[in-house]
Symmetry: C2
Subunit: 196 residues, 2 copies
């Protein structure tokens, strides 16, 4: 997994966008990004994402920044802007992967919130559409990351988790990390499991 | 593309869930499902999804149902419940594809909203986690559908659209469907384009 895949949530309307912005951040974390940057008025979302990271593990960083525009302009690496008007993800994903993850160049993935300024389309190295249909910035980010990492992000291991979900055919099973480790080597200790 | 991949949004809190439920429906449409079923109190989301379908094409159906539980119980086909507690998507996606899309058996993909009743885990044929991390039901649905259809959904063509987005390296280009058809056969008519 690359050390420098960063998701930028561009724009945020407090109240109305809280849940979507939180989902953008949690999706970035779950699907292999190293960091999410939110507008500085999205403190509530940042708190939720940090809380999930404390409980379910990291490393994953959450930053609040008021200079979002400067950040994209000065990014020392590749900038991908996810937009339904962009090139088809299936046509450009291999090139983007080669330009970022494969050679360690930092990748900034911009997810629009409020209306993205028009000149932003020119500044981005790639404008990419996960379909050219209107749907969800969260869905677009998820599919983009899963394709960028070719599914390897699903096997990621988490450090410093307080709790670990053990995949199950049915029901819910949450254990402490030591118990999860024991199970992975085929030595599960049922007594240590903690159901939620 | 299969004729019977249906997404069920289980539970909805009017107001609080409107945007998420709308995104579930739009993601289902954009990423290859044939139909979305929403709880009958999600009329506002249904209206938005129908409006997008009228403008950007179909076929895609939106239904409101008050008997969601009966629907899952009586489903004549395969039921997949997306949950962070389920089996890893990368472990079961091939089997689910064989049990549904490949042989034409109708597939119901359940996306939780409010707390899903516990016995639901037993009733589903598959409980599937797109990671075992907390993130977003919209992200989980998106990755699940992209994997179910092995990316073929991205090449879907749309019928009866009033407008078509033409993938672009930069900027936004929206044309009427006849112009889009002409472009596909290499005979674009710039005069007919309508920028938004």
């Amino acid at each position: 997994m690359n050390d420098d895949v960063v998701v930028l949530r561009y724009g945020h309307r407090p109240g109305r966008d809280d849940r979507m912005t939180t989902h953008v951040g949690l999706t970035a974390r779950a699907l292999g990004a190293d960091r999410v940057i939110l507008p500085d008025n999205a403190g509530q979302s940042a708190e939720t994402i940090r809380d999930i990271t404390d409980r379910f593990g990291g490393p994953f960083a959450v930053e609040l920044r008021d200079d979002q525009r400067a950040l994209t302009r000065d990014w020392a690496g590749t900038v991908v802007h996810l937009t339904m008007y962009g090139e088809r993800v299936q046509d450009v994903e291999a090139e983007i992967r080669a330009d970022s993850v494969d050679d360690g160049t930092p990748l900034l993935v911009v997810v629009g919130g409020e209306k993205v300024p028009f000149d932003f389309y020119d500044e981005a190295d790639y404008n990419v559409g996960v379909t050219n249909q209107p749907h969800s910035e969260v869905a677009g980010l998820a599919v983009f990351l899963d394709r960028l990492f070719e599914g390897e992000e699903l096997d990621r291991e988490w450090a410093n988790a307080e709790q670990v979900v053990v995949p199950q055919e049915t029901g819910k099973r949450v254990v402490d990390p030591e118990a999860a480790d024991a199970e992975r080597v085929g030595d599960g200790d049922e007594d240590r499991e903690t159901e939620t």
